[in-house]
Symmetry: C2
Subunit: 248 residues, 2 copies
Amino acid sequence: MNCNVPTDIVFSFTGFATRGGGTDEHNDGWGIAFFEGRGVRHFVDYQAAVASPIADLIKRCPIKSTNVIAHIRKATQGSIALENCHPFVRELWGRYWVFAHNGDLKNFAPVLDGAFRPVGSTDSEQAFCYVLQQLQRRFGDQLPALPALRSALAELTSEIATHGTFNMMLSHGGALFAHCSTNLHYIIRQYPFAQAQLSDNDVSVDFSQVTTPNDRVAIIVTEPLTTNEHWTRFAAGELKVFVDGAPV
Amino acid sequence: MNCNVPTDIVFSFTGFATRGGGTDEHNDGWGIAFFEGRGVRHFVDYQAAVASPIADLIKRCPIKSTNVIAHIRKATQGSIALENCHPFVRELWGRYWVFAHNGDLKNFAPVLDGAFRPVGSTDSEQAFCYVLQQLQRRFGDQLPALPALRSALAELTSEIATHGTFNMMLSHGGALFAHCSTNLHYIIRQYPFAQAQLSDNDVSVDFSQVTTPNDRVAIIVTEPLTTNEHWTRFAAGELKVFVDGAPV
């Protein structure tokens, strides 16, 4: 989720978490990270999201954020363990970076001789470390402007995607980058707001009752979360950058 | 807390969290990090611990860990914000490192031109980045053996402590390092276990009922947490290393 004002993710997370062992088989752990200013709240668990007391807390206690990345895991590489749960968090240029990956990379063994090493044993964390290492090599000591960052990430994600399926999301709190390799959808919710009905739960919300006319929220997800809204599918190979609730 | 078998911290955390706005004035946020294998569960909040739903969850849902670092904050430098809450987490040598600091550093502006930059604005996070930067410079590409790490940390913590009060804890999941500048106490709980009574809450536990004879747990804290046990005070300037529930 990427938005222009801090927004809680309870509605979307409710549907999403149900796929973590309920309506879908992604039950090898889950995680979520919320930016609040420059800080991050990071929750990971190797239990299925449907059975997790922390997931339950997140549904009960709305946390407001402008950038959130959540993940439900189906283990392809790496054991079911806390260190292998997404999203992963690292610091670069005095900013936290949050990363999650859906897919599977084959014959992917990048040389990691910079400042970032995987703690766990997933292809995903290797990809994240590689992305940050290459960004640091290209831009040196300072966070570059968004267009330069976008073009570097477009190159890097294309390169990694040659190794397999690389649907991924990355954020440093200012923008959310989403790369589609096989499957990714998004929706922009803005004025005039309407009602939405989750596909995985018997839950609906009338967004006009809980928003102001200036609010804008982008939700990006593998499979659409609602049954009655129009979701846009990413093209294969596409990298989109979301800022203030809209693609730029 | 450092132990030889995964242990929950519910008893000690209950007393400790009460000091976060209840029996003490450390109410500018709090945090806790639990190692589970190489993974870390990290919770931070800028609310007082006594009022935090996440602190409440940790008391209700025991998380078992061999290394836990918790912190309640009284802001001296840096605003009350999520990015300024301890403990801080970074990765070095493919391990997560967790750090918390109690105290205040003056005229402390280390040159941070390595791989670690503060995200927030505390002296504490600067000290943490400096420690990791210097460890990386000294040991290069690999985690050194414990004696070498200990002696490097003894030097670094002494150097930083010349700038003010530097009571700190640091762990990479294998050992817990504690440096006392002004105030730090520890206790080792082991067979034969006895009853303990919290000083901040009307709560007691009979550890003989919830342990096995092989369990050993070290609790290190600024002020003793219980009224009926013998706590050992650290000497000023002392660095202790705890492994498997005992100082080494």
